[in-house]
């Protein structure tokens, strides 16, 4: 099992009560596993059907792998400009 830090922003940081959370995942984990772990946390039930996850600042699909040391972030729908 590997501990991954997931960075949170804006509405999601308020939802989870922090600007980052830890999730424990098996070593061959995917973005889908990260999302599933987040849904189990307090506040996680409010996440949308297809959350926007970036790994090392690149948007990734659920099947994408995550490895130790990757910078993972969960982004609410964008609202800049």
């Amino acid at each position: 099992m590997t501990r991954h830090v997931v960075r949170l922003f804006a509405r999601y940081a308020e939802l989870f009560g922090n600007d980052q959370v830890d999730v424990m995942l098996p070593s061959s984990a995917t973005v889908a596993d990260v999302i599933a772990a987040l849904r189990e946390l307090p506040g996680g039930g409010s996440l949308p059907a297809s959350p926007f996850v970036v790994v090392n600042m690149v948007k990734e699909q659920p099947a994408a792998p995550v490895k130790a040391g990757d910078e993972i972030a969960l982004l609410p729908p964008l609202a800049g400009g």
Partner: protein, 149 residues
């Protein structure tokens, strides 16, 4: 040149200074877009708002947008987005494009601001006159998700 340029600022945006970045004697068509903070949204009067960002990724994506625009069009592009607390009428975002001709400048400027809104990880929290506050969310009903207090 200016991959040293930073795209995010916490200071008031100086649109004229941004225009100076793209100035060149052979680029006579300069188009500027400025997005200002409006006093209304979702049927409510807005008192003020705050922008926040995933800053390293926002810088990276702005750089990508600029490079893509400059490879698609014969144009020079500059953009800045402000973060932090803004008041009604403040410039939140500015895009300036200089090209040899106005057709290119208008087209590229429109594309850049549309891409910025679509891809840059920035979020907006609004404070309303009725005491409520909300995160702007283009995917939500009325475009906002109210903050529960």
């Amino acid at each position: 040149m200016a991959d040293l340029m930073l795209f995010l600022t916490s200071q008031p945006i100086d649109v004229q200074a941004l225009a100076a970045f793209v100035h060149a004697p052979d680029r006579g068509g300069v188009v500027t877009f400025a997005g200002l903070v409006r006093d209304h949204h979702a049927g409510r009067r807005v008192l003020s708002l705050s922008y926040s960002a995933y800053e390293p990724m926002a810088e990276k994506v702005c750089g990508e947008i600029r490079r893509e625009a400059e490879s698609r069009w014969p144009a020079t592009v500059a953009m800045t987005h402000r973060l932090g607390d803004l008041a009604i009428g403040d410039v939140a975002v500015a895009v300036v494009v200089a090209a040899g001709h106005r057709d290119v400048a208008f087209e590229a400027c429109r594309w850049v601001i549309d891409e910025l809104k679509r891809r840059v990880p920035i979020w907006k929290r609004e404070r309303y006159a009725d005491g409520t506050e909300a995160w702007v969310d283009p995917t939500a009903p009325q475009g906002i998700v109210e903050v529960m207090k």
